[in-house]
Structures are given as C-alpha cells and as structure tokens.
C-alpha cells in the first residue's frame, strides 16, 4: 500500500470506530438517564410512564412507617404528596422533614416503589433537586 492509502485507511478506521462509539454512547444515554420530576409533576401526569425516574422533595414529617425491612414514607414538595415504599437500608441522613431523592417507578396504584433512596451528605443544605421541587410547587 502507498503511504497515502495507508493514511486514508487509518483515518477511515478511526472514523468508523468513532461512529460506532458515538452510537453506543447515544443509545446508552437515551436508555439510562433518569429524569428528575417533582410530586406536582407526577400529579400533572408529567412523569415518564413505565420507566424509572427520580423524584425529589421532602420526607413528610411523621410519615415514616416501618414494616420489617420495608419502609413507607411520603415525599412532598409542600403542594402534592406521593407515598413511597422502599425495601432495604436507608442512607444515614434519611430523616423526616429532610430533603431526599428517590429513584424508582410509579406503580399502577399511584404508589412509588423506590429502588434507591439518596440523601445529601450535609446537614444544613437540601439536595438541589429537592429544593427545586419545593420552589416549583410554591411558584404555583
């Protein structure tokens, strides 16, 4: 092969692999991002159907109930409330009256089943998503 051809072959191979990589990346992004929504969005029907998403807000005071390893509680943005159930160990900073983010799916009966619960690792700040949810609700 002539050097010129070699160079072109190399460049073509590079471009082809980049294209393949780009396709992978975009597909992965499409199927693996989790949207943040607020409880009010859920009531307005703006949450993804049949797909996992993240919901931010405050854990309503005195709403935490335990049943063995399953915990039920209410996430609120001060306007609307959604009840959530989670089986497993909650993060250290999960407490009532505090901000939290839950990731999971909305079931047919309106119950949110969380696969993951996140709480911010700082006492005095709310997770921005939880704050965002409350601000959105108060604007209305």
């Amino acid at each position: 092969m002539k050097p010129r051809h070699k160079r072109i072959t190399l460049i073509l191979c590079g471009l082809a692999s980049l294209a393949v990589a780009a396709v992978f990346v975009l597909r992965a992004l499409d199927s693996n991002i989790a949207l943040y929504v607020t409880p009010s969005d859920v009531f307005a029907g703006k949450s993804p159907q049949g797909k996992a998403f993240r919901m931010g807000g405050l854990v309503k005071k005195e709403s935490i109930q335990r049943e063995g390893m399953t915990t039920r509680f209410i996430i609120t943005d001060t306007a609307k409330e959604i009840s959530v159930s989670y089986t497993g160990i909650l993060p250290d900073l999960f407490r009532d009256g505090k901000g939290a983010i839950v990731q999971g799916r909305l079931e047919q009966d309106g119950q949110f089943v969380a696969s993951e619960v996140l709480a911010k690792h700082d006492e005095n700040y709310m997770p921005p998503e939880a704050k965002h949810a409350i601000e959105q609700a108060q604007k209305k």
Binding site: S31, N32, Y36
Partner: protein, 652 residues
C-alpha cells in the same frame, strides 16, 4: 500571628510565581541582553516559590493543631475533640485548604523539575518552569482573592464545627494528597508541551524528557484513585467500589488521558511520530485535571460529595480555566501546522497498535466527560433536570474497554514500523487457548457461567499469560539486559489482568443481603455464617456509637469477631455508618448496621460477600508499581548530548 505569617507567605509566593512565570519566559526568547540572567532566575524562583508555600501550609497546619478557632477555616473544619491525625488531615478537608494543597503540589513539581533537570538545555528548563509559574499565579490569585484559608473570624469561636464525619477516615489522610500529586503532576507534561510549542522544538528528545514526569504523575494518580475507591468502599457504607460520581469522574478523566499520553509519548520518543497528537494529549490531560478542579470546586454538579461550593469562586476558576486551556490550544493551533509528520509505518506495527490504544482511551475519556456534563448541559439549555447513572457508564465503558484489553496482550509483541502478523499469532497461540479455556471453565468453578464472567476471565487470562510468556521469552534470550521500562510495562499490564479478575468476580458473584436481625440471629452469605451476638453502646472521642458484635464462622469454625458501628457525631448530629470488613485474599465479608427497627432490639443489617474485591486495588497497585519501575530506566538519566544522537530522534 501564625495565620498572618501564613497569609504573608502566600502573598510572597505569588510574587515568586510572578518572577518564575514571566522573566525566564522572556529570557528564553533571547531578545534582551539580560536573557542569560533571566533564564538563570527560573530555578531559584521555583525553589523559593515552593519553600514559601511549604511555610504557608505549615502555618495552616499549626493553626489546626493548636485549635485556633479565630481562623474561620479552622473553625469550620476542626474541633478540639478531633483526634490529632484528623486535625492535620482537616487542613485539606475543606475548600480553601484543598486549594492550598493543590498549589503546594504544583510548586513542589516545579521545584522537582528545577532540581532534576541538569541534563536539559537551560532555555527549555526556563520555559517549563515559567509555564508552571504562570499556572501557579492563577491558582494563587484564586486563593488570595476568593478562598483565603487564613481569614480571621473575630471574636473567635470557643469550639469548631468539626470535620465532616465522612472525612474522618484513615483513607482521607493520604487520599487527597496522592490524588492531587497525580493530577497536578500532569502540569509538568503540560509545561513541557507548551515549552516545546513555544520553542518549536517538538522532537524525540522532548518526548524523552517529559516521559518520566508524565509516568510519575500517572503513578500518583493511579494510587490516588485506587485509595479513593477503597475509601468509598470502607466509608460510604454501600459496599461499592466505584460509583461514577462526578467527583470520581473528575479524577478518572485525567487518568484516561494520561494513560493515552504515556503510550503516545512512547511512539513520539521511539519513532518521532504523532508529535502533534502527543502535544494535544499533554494539554488535554492537564486541562481535564483543571476541569475536574472546576467541577468539584464550583458546585455546578450535584454530587454526593460536593463538600464546599460557591458560585463566585466558580466564575473565577472558570475564567482561569478558559485562560489556561484557551491560550494553550491557541498556541497549539498556531504552532502545530509547522510540525513534521515523523517516521512512516506499516498498517500492522506497534505504532498502529498504540494508535488504536490512544483512540480507545480518548473515546473512553470523552464518554465519561459527556456523561458527567450531560445533566449540566440539559439544565443549561432549560430542558429539565436529570441524572446520568452508573448504567450509562457501564454500557458505554465495557464495549470500549474490551478491545483495549484484547490489545494489551498483542501490542507489546508488535515490532516498530512493521510487524509480522504470522509471527505474532504463533507467539500468542498458547495464550489464546488458555484464555478460551479460562472463559469456558473458570466461571463454572466459581458458580454460574454468565457471558460477562466468561468474558472477564478470558480477558484476564489472555493478558496475564501473554505477559508471562513475553517475559519468559525475554529471559531465554538473556533477561539480564532487559530495561527497567520493559519490566515496568509488563508489571503494569499484569496489574490490569489482576484488576480485571477482581472486577469480574465481584460483579458476577457478590452476594448482598439486607436483613432484619435480633440478638442471636444468624445470616449466611457466600458459605459463611454471621451471628449477631450483641448490639451495645460505646463512646468515641468526638462521637458516641452503637456497636454490633458479630461472630463470623464457616462450617462451625469461628473465624473472627466483627464490630460494625453506627456513629453519632456530637458537633454535627450526623449519623455515620462504619462498616466492619473481614479482608481475605479471595474474599471480603462486609457488615454494616442500618438502624434499629423496633423496640425488641432488632436492627436492619447489611451483609455482603465480596469475592476477590481486594484484587481490584491490588491490580491498581501493581499498575502503579509498574509505572514506578519504568521511571528507574537508565536512559532517562542520560545526558542531553547522548540523547540527540540516538537514532529515534527525528527533529521537527
């Protein structure tokens, strides 16, 4: 008084950085009659700069150790009850102190260059040190104007707020310094690249000079990342070793770019090829380090460990980022077109292999960057808030890494310029068979066969066996004269095989149980039994804790007693989970306490069986050790005259 001295030392350090950054650079252009003196200024300026920062750092450490809560930063990050080791580590536990550590590391690398560069031309040294000085000016101005760690708080607090409990772990004492050593260390490779672009001398000698510095930074970064992962595993209480958290990604992107840079420097040194590409990678590796600092310090990303963030600081550091990276890319666009292409090579050759390695690593770094910035991008465009989780990174990362791992076994066999495909195939025959066998059989021995565990076992054995055979071949023809870089490369590649084994087996065969346990209850995991003997209270220096007592046994043999804790820190009222881990060569048993469930003394307890997890960090340490061995190579200590006469050097 001490804090004022420290503050003053910082100001003097800025002056020293100004001297170091400006005069030698002008001197090296040889336009003034004082050029020689100005060039000669570079070394003493760099050393003074470093000493002043060491002094400032010592002042801050002194304020911490004497509980001087009249210093705002100390009051925010320390406490009289904090154990002395953590009081010292708290120096870099917050925003201001970690920046001071950053710039201390930067000046430290500069001082190291000034001491270990006798064999380099004076003008080159002057330019390299000047570039480091310029970066330091920016960082020091950032500290002095927006994040002064010595700011007084009057009247003084009687008691400090305490260090974030998450950071009270032995891992934190060493993790940030190592990590910063690494990612600040890429500044040297960057400085060499910029110096070479300014001088127009982009040749094999330049690649040889910057290679050991790049490798050294890479070694520190590798250790730093591994320690961070180990810290997260021990301290966060989730039992994972990597979370694709933005802060982790911030250190991982420079590592990927740095790994690509190490390989591409090899081509440039040996064959004089890909010079522009190598320079661009050197700029990219350091730019990603700066970007990481920006992401962590500005708070634009939400992350589980966004400890300190402030928007005005964000603006400053963004401007700094824009100036440093923008000007170096402009310089690149101006100078790069004049650089020659270098030696020609065949399609099957070591050059091609290394090129593919580079493309894959850069694609990997790019996909991490995209995943990290995507939420920010969408938010900035007003399209809503979202998060990109580990599934994205896993789906993208595995397909990119598999060909790279396959290539590790092949690349070192290929000759420069033109490789014989048939010869390579012959030498890889046995490894190929072993890898296939491992993929088919090994997962059955561990449990269930799955495509992922088969693939992982295959790759690990493929890399490990080919590495061992190559070393054996070399020993047969006389291993005595094998260079340190030969051993370093193979050791690092072998480390990757160990790492792959760890990742595969943890991913495929770990067991996780969240259970409700009462005193006397037993849970079994991975063939081991854990019995809860007792949960009681215990005091600590700055917290009180609930401590569980668990008896670990296997087939009736008691192996060990484990004590996981749930701590409640006094000052911050923050609960913290301290897992108890029994570490073994082939497995870890991990127990952590959840919370009390009812009035009968039952707790939720998390129990993990983690096969081969320590191999992950062991593999990283082997990689780092390989890098360290390569540093010892004799040729880096050759004088410059010898270097230019070597056949590999193709001048620009």
């Amino acid at each position: 008084m001490t804090p004022e001295l420290g503050h003053f030392a910082l100001i003097l350090a800025l002056m020293a950085a100004l001297l170091q950054g400006l005069l030698p650079l002008i001197g090296a252009q040889r336009i003034s009659s004082y050029s020689a003196q100005w060039i000669a200024l570079a070394r003493p300026a760099a050393q003074t700069h470093f000493l002043l920062l060491v002094f400032a750092f010592a002042c801050l450490a002194q304020s911490f150790l004497t509980n001087d809560f009249s210093v705002a930063y100390v009051a925010q990050n320390s406490n009289t009850k904090l154990p002395a080791m953590y009081q010292f580590a708290a120096v870099w536990g917050g925003h201001e102190g970690s920046l001071l550590l950053w710039v201390l590391m930067l000046s430290g690398w500069g001082a190291a260059v000034s001491l270990a560069s006798r064999q380099l031309p004076e003008a080159m040294v002057a330019r390299v040190l000047a570039v480091l000085g310029l970066v330091s000016i920016g960082m020091l101005a950032f500290i002095l104007f927006t994040s002064n760690p010595f700011e007084r708080l009057l009247p003084a607090l009687a008691e400090g707020r305490d260090l974030n409990p998450l950071l009270q772990d032995p891992g934190l004492v060493f993790h940030p310094p190592m990590l910063y050593m690494g990612y600040v260390g890429f500044s040297v490779a960057f400085a060499f690249a910029i110096a070479a672009l300014i001088s127009g001398r982009l040749d094999a000698a330049w690649a040889r000079w910057s290679r050991p510095w790049t490798t050294a930074a890479w070694v520190f970064l590798t250790i730093g990342i591994a320690m961070g992962s180990w810290w997260a595993y021990n301290e966060l209480g989730w039992g994972g070793w990597w979370f694709w958290d933005p802060v982790e990604n911030a250190s991982f992107m420079p590592w990927l770019a740095g790994t690509a840079l190490i390989h591409s420097l090899a081509i440039t040194e040996k064959r004089g090829a890909f010079k522009n590409w190598t320079v661009l990678l050197a700029i990219a590796a350091f730019s990603l380090s700066l970007l990481g600092t920006f992401l962590v310090r500005s708070g634009v990303l939400t992350s589980v460990h966004a400890f300190a963030s402030d928007p005005s600081r964000g603006v400053f550091i963004l401007i700094l980022l824009a100036v440093v990276i923008g000007s170096s890319l402009t310089l690149f666009a101006w100078r790069a077109p004049k650089v020659g292409v270098g030696g020609a090579f065949a399609l099957v050759s070591r050059e091609t292999m290394l090129l593919i390695n580079n493309v894959l690593l850069v694609v990997a770094a790019g996909s991490v960057l995209l995943g990290t910035l995507y939420p920010l991008l969408i938010d900035a465009l007003g399209l809503g808030k979202l998060s990109v989780g580990p599934p994205y990174f896993n789906t993208v990362f595995v397909p990119v890494m598999v060909p790279l791992l396959l290539l590790i076994a092949v690349g070192p066999l290929a000759r420069w310029k033109h490789a014989d495909l048939r010869d390579m195939a012959r030498r890889l025959r046995v490894s190929f068979i072993l890898a296939l066998l491992a993929g088919a059989i090994f997962p059955h021995l561990m449990g269930i066969w799955t495509p992922m565990t088969a693939l992982g076992s295959l790759l690990a054995v493929w890399i490990a066996s080919s590495t061992v055979f190559q070393i054996a071949e070399r020993l047969k023809i006389g291993g005595g004269n094998a260079s340190a870089s030969f051993w370093g490369m193979h050791l690092a590649h072998f480390g990757i095989a160990v790492f792959v084994i760890g990742v595969t087996l943890v991913g495929g065969y770990q067991e996780e149980k969240d259970v409700r346990m009462q005193t006397g209850a037993t849970v079994s995991v991975g063939g081991y039994q854990l019995r809860l003997l007792d949960i009681g209270a215990a005091p600590g220096p700055n917290y009180h804790a609930d401590v569980g007592t668990f008896e670990l046994s296997r087939n009736g043999h008691v192996l060990k007693t484990l004590y996981p804790e749930k701590r409640h820190y006094f000052s911050s009222q923050m609960p913290m989970t301290e897992a108890a881990i029994d570490t073994g060569f082939t497995r870890d048993i991990y127990v952590s306490l959840g919370e009390p469930l009812d009035n009968q003394g039952a707790w939720s307890v998390r129990v993990y069986f983690k096969p081969f997890i320590d191999w992950i960090w062991g593999g990283c340490l082997l990689m780092a050790a390989g890098g360290f061995l390569a540093l010892l190579d004799r040729r880096y200590r050759l004088r410059v005259k010898a270097a230019v006469t070597l056949p590999g050097s193709v001048s620009a």
